[in-house]
Amino acid sequence: MLKILPCIFGLLILITSTFCSAYGQDATAPNIFSEPQSENENIPVFSDNKKRAAKKRLNDTLGSNIDKIPNWQQVKMIPSLSGQQKRQLNVLYKQSREELKPLLDELKAMKTQNSQGITPGQNIDFRNKAIDIREQIVSSRQKLWSNVSNILTDKQIKELDQMKQGTLTPATFNDQSPTAANMMKKRRRFIQ
């Protein structure tokens, strides 16, 4: 019996060490579905975060604000926009759409051509043409934004930025009681 005991202990040690190494030692891991420490400071994220970051990098590389220039749908939501401003901006955006249409159509056709395959010899010309069109679009949109920002006040541009960030106080939407004084104040502003 005494001769067998060391063997039993040896076996137990072997099993325990195998078991522990197989089962790992990381006591901080809550479970299999948890994200490891490192990326994004371990805060929860949506799966398209990398895509968004890549898009941002691309824009930064191109040195353009192509996707940051607010579109008409966003601009028309600025709470303090007057009727006259709205009309002027609508015209500007409409003009811009018309101006950009041929360029965008050409880019679309090139994308289709690209997806169907182009010969290696065409590659450089093709890419240069795409860059050229893209630059024209960027320049046109920057011109548009310059015109738009001439119509908007600094406060409105700030509001637009706050809307995109979600920091504009929603109270501006709903906390105005229709008291007589408030009503008259509003009315005066509306008439102006």
């Binding site: 990381d26 891991a29 479970n31 994200e35 490891p36 929860p44 939501m77 709470p79 929603p170 709903n174």
Partner: protein, 445 residues
């Protein structure tokens, strides 16, 4: 407490209803507080430091003028807030004052409305009703910008009575017409609510027995002060939080609290979550999870940190498209959540959340780590652990046996007593989680 189950059991039950379920750590926190203190914490979100959520949201770069992004923003809030009842009440009010961006076509106005629900979630009902009546999204949704003295539009006047306060059968057509006159001129301009005085009807009106030069504010006060409004609200709250078929005695008790507390929503909720019916076997696992509860609950229980960016679409395919309820009545809820197509979507979601698509496996903690950390040493313990985590252990013995057999068999289906390699073990664990998530009990909260 009215029965033999312990406090932690009912705290878990409370958090499934007053929130979207919990992570194991959150549950531990609330259980340590005890049921009553946990309830108080849930009812007082302003006393909780939720700044980490706001910081994390800032880092996500959500664009609030884009509807898909707005949906992701809300899902993120629901999943990671420290104030779950605040988000649950926001969801409740979104269903109660159902407004859809399909008509409003202004995500930022929908965002404003959503924040309004959060702001007034626990206050006096009168204040919420006043704020929502002036909310631009609501004004557009129910056409009140077309409500003029010369041609009154009755949409808002009808819905405020039928869907928001009294319920059908408690008002007359005359009341609808008079209320519509009172709301004439209540419109929205780009800078928010605006009363167009030249379109408002300043004449005398008689509404629910009250005569005078009534305006929208008066109508709201009259409606909020009706006993039947308390009953209507209580019925909806009990249906939303307790049972699809509300107990009439409980509804009456909560309705009385509405009157006694001067229309306090917080008081109603406190009474609801302390009611013997809520803390009874009858209410336990008796409600079908809404898609929001299912999706957010799964994210929390399994501590998923990388959310699929298609979650809004997944929830929509299960029947709950945020910011786009099906009609003015909102979502029917209850058994309406379950149909052949939506059930399939629930199973697909279970598959997604347990597969590599949802979390990149190669970067994750290994299955053996989980076993080690949780002290799981055999198939039976693994099944018990996940059954406890996902369905509160509410599973028939036969299911336990089937899952244990599954867990203890190798990839070819042969029962084995050998220690599995990490890859097989991982696949088995995901398999067990997937199977439990497709059980009928997992569809209940």
């Amino acid at each position: 407490m009215v029965n033999t189950k312990d406090s932690s059991f009912w705290t878990n039950h409370l958090l499934r209803r007053a929130g979207f379920g919990t992570t194991p750590d959150e549950l531990k926190h609330y259980v340590q507080l005890g049921y009553n203190k946990a309830l108080n914490e849930l009812l007082n979100p302003k006393q909780i430091d939720n700044s980490q959520l706001e910081t994390n949201i800032q880092k996500q770069n959500f664009d609030y003028t884009n509807l898909d992004e707005l949906k992701r923003w809300w899902i993120y809030r629901m999943a990671f807030t420290k104030c779950p009842l605040e988000e649950k009440m926001t969801l409740f009010w979104h269903g109660h004052f159902a407004t859809s961006d399909r008509k409003v076509k202004n995500p930022y106005a929908m965002y404003g409305q959503n924040q309004l629900f959060r702001k007034y979630a626990f206050g006096r009902f009168d204040d919420l009703l006043m704020a929502i009546s002036k909310d631009p999204a609501m004004i557009i949704w129910l056409d009140n910008q077309q409500n003029r003295q010369s041609s009154p539009n009755e949409n808002y006047a009808r819905e405020i009575m039928e869907l928001f306060t009294l319920g059908i059968g408690n008002y007359t057509e005359k009341d609808v017409k008079e209320a519509a006159r009172a709301f004439t001129g209540w419109t929205t301009l780009p800078d928010g609510f605006f009363l167009r005085s030249n379109q408002h009807d300043y004449g005398y009106k008689t509404f629910l027995g009250v005569t005078g030069n009534l305006n929208g504010t008066d109508i709201i006060k009259i409606l909020a002060s009706q006993r039947v409004t308390g009953h209507f609200l209580a019925n909806k709250l009990v249906k939303f939080f307790v049972a699809d078929d509300p107990d009439s005695g409980m509804v009456n008790r909560i309705a009385q609290v509405y009157i006694d507390s001067n229309h306090s929503i917080k008081a109603m909720l406190h009474a609801l979550f302390s009611d013997p019916v809520f803390l009874s076997e009858k209410a336990y696992h008796a409600k079908i999870k809404s898609p929001a509860e299912l999706v957010i609950g799964s994210v929390k229980l399994l501590q998923v940190k990388t959310l699929d960016h298609n979650l809004p679409k997944i929830m929509a395919s299960m029947g709950q498209d945020l910011f786009a309820p099906p009609n003015v009545k909102g979502w029917d809820g209850g058994k309406a959540w379950i149909a052949t197509d939506t059930m399939m979507e629930r199973f697909n979601f279970a598959s997604l959340i347990t597969s590599n698509k949802f979390n990149r496996l190669e970067q994750y903690t290994s299955a053996s780590d989980l076993m080690y950390k949780q002290g799981l040493r055999n198939a039976r313990q693994v099944v018990n652990y996940f059954a406890e985590l996902l369905v509160d252990g509410d599973m028939p013995q036969s299911t336990y046996t089937t899952l244990t057999n599954y867990m203890s068999s190798n990839s070819t289906g042969t029962k084995t007593t050998k220690i599995m390699d990490n890859q097989t073990l991982d696949a088995k664990l995901r398999g067990v989680v997937h199977l439990i998530m497709t059980l009928p009990t997992y569809q209940l909260c």
